[in-house]
Symmetry: C2
Subunit: 209 residues, 2 copies
């Protein structure tokens, strides 16, 4: 067991003794695109695959070296990150601010739910891909393992509140718990929410029911 | 007494009977500039004054017909509103998103407090004005009359919580009460906060202590 793991246990025991649960790390997700294999080939050429630039906090997820431009009749946003690995559906996650600047009407949905999603053109150096019904504003959520869920006394799909311990304190009132043994403990919010609470590096939040 | 005034009284009485206080209208403030008389003349010419385009919700305040460009080494934002009447200090109110795009480090302050404020150049068609220590991110707040303060059981300068009744419910945890007989009841938040809670037209929020 390394020092960080021991520190984590000690901090958890101390919080338990005080009757408090340890706070949850909050990370802000920049706008990004998930692609299918078919979309990767359509945009980057036959046989192309997403190449890893660096790992993300959720195990298996990575930032690719590919970038795309988003285009609508109203505007464009260049240099948008593409995350890997490939998924079963193209999904574009934007902030409400981005949606307004592009003139896209998008719902606040959990990742994976494309009900009512907006549309946008994805543009690479070689091709244009019509990403119909792909754009959502990601519902904020907490990734956690089954052990974390037991510790916090919550279940998959449950809604909880999280109060950000930040310079401009805000409580997010409808945060969805997502449990999987593959996850690492982290709350994900978008840039609007991050700016609304003045999120800093290493910011955390207090979960309440 | 007109129909709207009667409606407001009936709705207040019904809320009282249910033991609930009526919700507070929430308005989002776009980025804007307040100028001194001296700055108005420096930017728009000797003898120039701000001309009214339309009244704002707070009595006496107005949107002027003048517009300015904000410029820093990192970027610029054009077509920024100038509010009237003139004030004793130049004050530029931006969202955290604006500050990031312009590379300005600005504090979250109540309007009127320029402690630690950031700097920006204001550019008109004729002149450039060096607005040193003028840029803040406005602390969210509620304008109310002394009668409103009595109704909600709060005092000037007190901090309260407000839960936005919106598509993406968020509780603002540190909202400052501002009381004056000149005010009209309204909570003011910036565009980041508005986008974080998906504020709509006619959105309201529930005050709690």
């Amino acid at each position: 067991m390394n020092e960080n793991e021991i520190r984590a246990i000690v901090s958890r025991v101390l919080a338990d003794m005080a009757g408090e649960k340890k706070e949850i790390p909050i990370e802000s997700s920049a706008r990004h695109v998930h692609l299918t294999k078919e979309a990767v080939e359509a945009l980057f050429g036959k046989g192309a695959v997403l190449t890893k630039k660096r790992d993300l906090s959720q195990p298996g997820e990575f930032l690719s070296e590919q970038r795309l431009k988003l285009v609508t009749a109203k505007g464009e946003i260049a240099n948008v990150a593409v995350l890997g690995p490939e998924r079963k559906a193209v999904q574009v996650e934007l902030s409400m601010t981005d949606c307004r600047s592009l003139g896209i009407k998008a719902p606040v949905n959990l990742s994976g739910d494309l009900n009512g999603a907006g549309s946008v053109y994805l543009v690479s150096e070689n091709a244009v891909y019509d990403a119909k019904q792909s754009v959502i504003v990601a519902q904020n959520h907490i990734h956690m393992t089954p052990a974390d869920a037991e510790y916090y006394g919550v279940k998959d799909s449950q809604s909880v509140k999280v109060t950000a311990s930040t310079a401009r304190p805000v409580t997010f009132d409808n945060v969805v718990i997502r449990v999987s043994p593959k996850f690492a403990l982290a709350m994900h919010i978008d840039f609007d929410e991050a700016n609304a609470c003045c999120l800093g590096k290493d910011s955390t939040g207090k979960l309440s029911l």
